[in-house]
């Protein structure tokens, strides 16, 4: 291993992470000197500035692709894609939280700091190519999210949510770490490139299979894939609504990025069947359980399990097709789900009082904008054309069909039909039922309007012109997969297609 001192280029390759850390620290430092009641919003502005600066520095980073810090970090199209995605999600989250924190009378100080720190972890997850660094990034991201989940600290459910998430989450990361250790034992390295060299050499040690399974358990927990999903509904129900929107998209996207790297780039052995089973289970359990939910947050929690299942379908497909499909799915799911939660968190009002499906009755009449936006996000979640959700499902299923995964595709297609029912239930509530009790709807503040505008525009853009985003995903997927074994690029062909 090269032990030279890191060059300037190395730092540029983690520039977004550096920028985010600095802004996070500044927020923490400024916090005590600020009048808690009046100037909370300035912290939010600082957070927003941090994320925007991170977005710009991602652009700078993208100009110098390559490895950094002794081959631990790799900047390529793939990592840039996920950087932009998680940072964009955070921007919307901050815009949504702006008013939410005031309505809920929450102390905002460390909230924005934690978001930025969490982002550091998620960004790093997408560019790390070294299992130990991935583990550290995973922990950075998880710990921030654990705390964010418990941020409504006067609410018992929120504390429960945080504790549950923390305990189960630590358990899952332990699995991951155990897997990393075994992988090191099996292949003699924790570097993904070197691991893939071993895997591709033909002689795969049995230990590597175990290691893979353990790592999958850890990451499966993070993406809320069945059968590691049981925490999701409780955690999502208790956590602050904007945070749920964030949790269900950004750390998930980052975890999917890690899964892509580990499963495809490192060419994980024996992955096929447990992905197949997990995908089928996630889709079915998620959708079926969502049918009977009364609480909108729980409903969307189960829906997010189902969506993790759809994404996993692509993992069972041929890597070239699957990777780009997952990337596109992550982006459009982020747009629609964060948007939906923006509406839910605004509508929930103080103390998150209005979160049941019944409360939404007649929203179409009382607040056409909120109802219209939520309806569009739900339509996208169903997967109806003109929305990103449609193309997301479309790419996943067509990747699966091109890989001859007919059975999994049929399960997926049936599931998306089941899914239509409970999303529709909410639309029906909003437009076709009259309100039974008077649920107050707060006026829409500018920041929320901006958040909705961003997510709506993204959802529709991905539904009308998915070409550019998908094209980018396909190019970067190709780039990532080609570098699978840097030493013997030529030797490696598309031969390890699929077990099916």
């Amino acid at each position: 291993m090269n032990q030279t001192i890191p060059a300037a280029a190395d730092y540029i390759r983690i520039l977004p992470e550096i920028v985010l850390s600095i802004f996070g620290l500044v927020i923490m430092a400024v916090d005590p000197f600020i009048d808690q009641d009046k100037d909370q919003k300035s912290l939010g502005a600082l957070g927003l500035a941090g994320t925007v600066a991170a977005l710009i520095s991602t652009w700078v980073m993208a100009q110098s692709p390559g490895l950094a810090f002794w081959n631990m970090v790799r900047v390529d199209g793939f990592s840039v894609f996920f950087h932009v995605l998680v940072i964009a999600i955070a921007i919307v989250l901050i815009l949504t939280s702006y008013e939410y924190m005031a309505v809920q009378k929450l102390h905002a100080g460390e909230y924005y700091g934690l978001i930025l720190f969490g982002l550091v972890g998620m960004c790093l997850m997408s560019s790390a190519v070294e299992l130990v660094l991935i583990f550290i990034a995973l922990e950075i991201s998880s710990i921030s999210t654990y705390i964010l989940a418990g941020f409504r600290r006067r609410s018992a459910t929120s504390s429960e949510s945080s504790l549950k998430y923390f305990l189960l989450g630590s358990f899952a990361t332990a699995f991951f770490l155990y897997g990393v250790a075994l992988m090191f034992g099996a292949t003699g390295s924790t570097n993904i490139d070197e691991i893939s060299t071993v895997q591709n050499s033909g002689q795969v040690p049995v230990l590597a299979y175990v290691a893979m399974a353990l790592m999958f358990v850890g990451l499966g927990f993070k993406v809320a894939a069945a059968p590691f999903h049981v925490w999701t509904p409780d955690v999502y129900e208790g956590a602050p609504a904007p945070v749920v929107g964030f949790m269900s998209t950004a750390p998930k996207a980052a975890a999917f990025a890690v899964l892509l790297r580990i499963l495809f780039e490192a060419n994980a052995p024996g992955r096929f069947w447990f992905i197949w089973i997990s995908a089928a289970l996630s889709m079915t359990l998620g959708n079926v359980a969502a049918l009977v939910q009364d609480n909108v947050k729980r409903l969307l929690a189960y829906s997010s399990i189902a969506h993790a299942g759809y994404m996993l379908v692509a993992f069972a497909a041929i890597p070239e097709l699957g990777t780009s499909a997952v990337m596109f799915y992550a982006a459009s799911y982020a747009a629609m789900n964060v948007g939906a939660f923006a509406v839910v968190s605004h509508f929930a009002n103080s103390g998150e009082r209005y979160v049941t499906v019944k409360d939404y009755a007649g929203l179409g009449r009382r607040s056409p904008v909120l109802a219209g936006a939520l309806a569009l996000f739900l339509i996208s979640l169903i997967g109806i054309p003109v929305t990103g959700g449609f193309f997301a499902k479309f790419y996943v299923f067509s990747a699966a069909l091109q890989s001859n995964l007919v059975g999994l595709t049929i399960i997926g297609v049936i599931n998306s039909a089941i899914g239509a029912y409970y999303y529709l239930k909410l639309i029906v509530m909003m437009y076709m039922r009259e309100a039974t009790e008077d649920v107050p709807v707060l006026p829409i503040p500018a920041s929320l309007a901006a958040a909705l505008a961003i997510t709506l525009a993204a959802t529709i853009y991905l539904g009308i012109a998915p070409g550019p985003v998908l094209g980018y995903a396909q190019r970067s997927a190709k780039q990532m997969l080609q570098r699978e074994s840097p030493n013997e690029q030529a030797q490696h062909s598309a031969s390890q297609g699929d077990a099916n």
Partner: protein
């Protein structure tokens, strides 16, 4: 071939002007009158433009005309490919013809959330026209699904009675069924690498699709299921009476007039066009279902106590004729099927408008609440009589031509088809005439009915075009048929070539 600018653009304009109008409506202040007038102007403009299609069509040409083909999304390979032939052309016209009438008939009956109503109506029109004009499977699916939401919202927001139940049932039925169509499309795309209808058709014809023979039956069924639910073919029809009865008048008109034709159009275009062999192979049981639909729909219509339900079940019966005609594989049968589609669109659309008019006055569709209405409402009774006779299939009105052609085609294929199908004509006379008698003849049974106002000028304005169309279509069906015929002939040629291959 003339390639004036309008010829190239006309399909795009006709398709998207309504939706663009809907978007503009979003910006309108909530002054209901302005909104209504604007919607009327937009829908009339669309109708006017669609007349260009018929004015410049090359009548003897079987292929697609006014084609426009632009790359939309590169991966997957999706094109903005539109075009019409003699089959789809008339269905586009039917849509643009009925929409202004829907606007007129909803003028006063919709008085709450008026803006949303007309936005939904216009968006629905775009989606419907798009279904008939798209030649890219993906684009077709896109429009197909896009019809769902506006229609479901129209039923659920503006309907009556169990409107939510009806809306959700309608949505789920169609959604679930069309998912299978999507799966078939994806399979075709995975093998052919294109969504283009013509490309896929040629690839299948040339036998270049790997694994097609093994999969074809399933693909056929995938498409068939989506279309059969839409038609609705017995036994997939249960959503229809609910949706119709609870829908607002304009919703019913478009539902019966155009939405159901999406299904029969799909059968004709895709099932027959892409899977001619399987169509032949499956024709017997599909024709049997169609015959059951004809008789069952008619018998059930006869015992309905509700005016809208009678008309709804009569649709099941009439659409059975269309399916029977399509799967008779004869020139006459297919021509007739097309003609029944158009005639049914006009006359059932009008019947639903008439039902809506009485509902606006009495807030019920129950036949028992009516009786002797001919005395207080003579104009209404006259229109109703005329349209009802058209629907029954009186010679010289539009219903007769199509049913006659279908039956003559069906006889050629299998005389039993003709015999059983022909009873449907008798049944339809029974239930419609009996309904007419109960509503209009005799003494006024309910005193309050004496003071019912007759048709207003606006309502007459909405009804006259349908009456005129019903008459002209009955007297001069060739105006329609000589455009339909070449397209049908080429569709049939595909099916016949395939049979010869099978026969060897």
């Amino acid at each position: 071939m003339n390639t004036s600018v309008l010829d190239n653009l006309v399909l795009t304009l006709v398709t998207f002007i309504p939706a663009a109008g809907g978007v503009l409506l979003l910006l309108f202040p909530r002054r209901d009158r302005d909104i209504r007038i604007f919607s009327l102007i937009i829908s009339l403009l669309t109708f006017g433009l669609s007349l260009h299609l018929i004015a410049r069509v090359h009548r003897m040409l079987p292929g697609f005309q006014y084609e426009i083909d632009k790359a939309w999304i590169s991966s997957p390979n999706i094109h903005y490919h539109m075009g019409v032939d003699g089959i789809s052309l008339w269905l586009v016209l039917l849509t643009t013809f009925l929409t202004p009438l829907c606007v007129l008939i909803s003028w006063t009956s919709i008085h709450e959330r008026v803006k949303e109503f007309f936005i939904l109506l216009l968006v629905l029109e775009t989606a419907l026209i798009g279904v008939f004009t798209s030649l890219d499977l993906f684009l077709f699916y896109f429009f197909w699904e896009s019809t769902l939401i506006p229609m479901a919202l129209l039923i659920g927001m503006y309907g009556h009675g169990r409107k939510v139940y009806a809306a959700v049932k309608f949505f789920l039925y169609t959604m679930v069924a069309s998912v299978f169509m999507l799966a078939s499309m994806l399979w075709l795309y995975a093998k052919v690498g294109s969504f283009d209808f013509v490309t896929i058709q040629n690839a299948i014809k040339a036998g270049q699709v790997a694994g097609f023979d093994a999969a074809a039956q399933w693909l056929f069924l995938g498409f068939f299921l989506a279309f059969a639910v839409k038609v609705p073919l017995f036994p997939f029809h249960t959503w229809l009476p609910d949706a119709h009865v609870e829908a607002p008048t304009a919703g019913s008109v478009l539902l019966a007039g155009v939405l159901l034709k999406m299904g029969t159009y799909g059968l004709l275009r895709f099932n027959l066009g892409l899977f001619p062999e399987q169509s032949r192979y499956n024709a017997a049981w599909i024709a049997a279902l169609a015959l059951i639909g004809i008789v069952y729909g008619a018998l059930v219509a006869m015992v309905q106590p509700n005016m809208k339900k009678v008309i709804a079940y009569s649709s099941v019966s009439h659409l059975g004729f269309v399916v029977l005609g399509i799967f008779s594989f004869t020139q006459a049968g297919l021509n007739g099927a097309m003609f029944v589609m158009l005639a049914h669109g006009v006359s059932t659309g009008a019947l639903f408008m008439l039902a809506g008019i009485i509902y606006e006055r009495k807030h019920t569709y129950e036949l028992a609440e009516m009786g002797g209405l001919a005395a207080p409402m003579p104009k209404y009774a006259t229109f109703f009589c005329f349209i009802m006779l058209a629907s029954v299939g009186l010679p010289l009105l539009n219903g007769f031509v199509g049913e006659f052609l279908v039956l003559s085609g069906a006889f050629l294929t299998n005389s039993w088809y003709g015999v059983i199908g022909a009873t449907g004509v008798i049944w339809s006379a029974c239930y419609l005439l009996w309904m007419y008698q109960r509503v209009f003849f005799g003494k006024v049974t309910h005193a309050e009915n004496n003071s019912l106002p007759d048709l207003s000028p606006r309502e007459q304005l909405a009804l006259w075009p349908t009456a005129v169309a019903a008459l002209v279509m009955g007297v001069a069906p060739l105006l329609w048929l000589n455009v339909i015929d070449p397209a049908v002939r080429s569709a049939l040629a595909v099916a016949q070539v395939a049979t010869k291959v099978v026969g060897q």
